[in-house]
Amino acid sequence: MDFSPFILTLRLALFTTLILFFLGIPLAYWLAYSKYRIKYAVEAIVSLPLVLPPTVLGFYLLLAFSPENALGAFLDEYVDLRLVFTFPGLVLASVIYSLPFMVQPLRSGFASIPKAWLDTAQTLGKGRWVTLTRVLLPNMRSALLTAAVLSFAHTVGEFGVVLMVGGNIPEETRVISVAIYNEVEAMNYGQANRYSLLLIGFSFLVLLITYWVNHDKNRVLGYD
């Protein structure tokens, strides 16, 4: 069995989750605490991938990344980065597509922190960074874990966006969902079945471990 689509999928999900983690924390923090009304517009934009068919997002990203258009041409010429039908393009598309899965749980995590803790940290002379790293994040570990796992799992399960932006290039953009589609098209049901079972088993395992760890953590911290 050719494991390369599976390994490529894991690589994509890992990169996407890592980037989203560092993007998601400041964004969710801002959404949770900002008093500007524009945050509602930002929140709506962040959540758009939840409701849009992946093909819509994929279509516009394909257009934007294309070397025939301004952004694609600029990246191609000045950064030597081609995003259509390449792995970096897939990562960027996945980051946009999975953004709500990172931001929403983190936002709820921030919202679950009692306001008195924030007030206390301020009256103890602590600034935002210290409060974030020593009070907020350590007390929302289960939200952090949920956000990371959901983003990872959602990226593993991607199909439409990946197919539109990445196409179907072995070892470069052929992730497991695309590979399954491929095998079915070619009537190789046996191989499609093996890929599918691998994905089901893997996803189940990830979710199982997550719930387990999350539950234990809550118990240790006494939230349960």
């Binding site: 009692p114 007030d119 002379g125 007390n139 911290l221």
Partner: protein
């Protein structure tokens, strides 16, 4: 000396309410702030601590302007040297009792004060425990000790005793009075418990309809 002359419109239980208060509090006084719930007592403490921005007025503390609307001065809570204790303790559950106090240390401040404060509230044996295993009274003693770590000149107590039962209240009242004397604090105690104010405070400010309706000895206001 705290010279306070502040205005703020608040949303109370009966809709919009204007708060317009002025008073002077001498160094070393222990003043009770009394009034029905929703009268704006906590808001006054929050304006002194910098957690809430007044709409207009002035706040001068030991000769220094902490807030002055006409001169656009508004010192951040971090830069006002105050200790504040909230009704809900607001201990950080991810830190042990000792770590909660260590967190309060200023940059470069010697950590010896942490064990001194823990000893003062009789909790040195519980230093390594997590806050969640403590009783309400113990939690509030930790919060009080933590508020004192930075050696503030002003102690602001926002209904610190109302979640405790009678025995614990009496016990904690002693600790507060002791701190007040030993560190020559200027202390403001918000409470809706008349007996508490009579027992602890030398002076009571009664807040009604957004104004101080009485300013004087608790014995005179509450009767002997």
């Amino acid at each position: 000396m705290i010279e306070l002359d502040l205005e703020k419109s608040l949303f109370g239980p009966d809709g919009k309410m204007g708060l317009k208060v002025s008073c002077q509090i001498k160094q070393g006084e222990l003043v009770g702030l009394y009034g029905p719930s929703g009268a704006g007592k906590s808001s006054i403490l929050r304006m002194i601590s910098g957690l809430m921005r007044p709409d207009a007025g002035k706040l001068q503390v030991f000769g220094r302007a902490w807030f002055d609307q006409s001169q656009k001065i508004n010192l951040k809570p971090q830069r006002r040297n105050i200790g504040m204790v909230f009704q809900e303790y607001a201990l950080f559950p991810n830190m042990s009792v000792e770590e909660n106090l260590l967190f309060a240390l200023d940059k470069g401040q010697a950590p010896a004060i942490v064990s001194e404060m823990l000893e003062r509230v009789g909790l040195e044996k519980l230093a390594q425990k997590r806050p969640m295993v403590l009783s309400g009274g113990q939690k509030q003693r930790v919060a009080l000790a933590r508020a004192m770590v930075r050696r503030p000149n002003i102690l602001l107590l926002d209904e610190p005793l109302s979640a405790l039962d009678m025995d614990m209240r009496a016990n904690l009242q002693q600790y507060i009075v002791q701190f007040h004397k030993d560190f020559a604090l200027t202390t403001l105690l918000v409470s809706h418990d008349a007996s508490e104010i009579r027992r602890m405070a030398q002076r009571v400010l009664v807040l009604e309809n957004g104004k101080f309706s009485f300013d004087g000895e608790p014995g005179i206001f509450f009767g002997n």
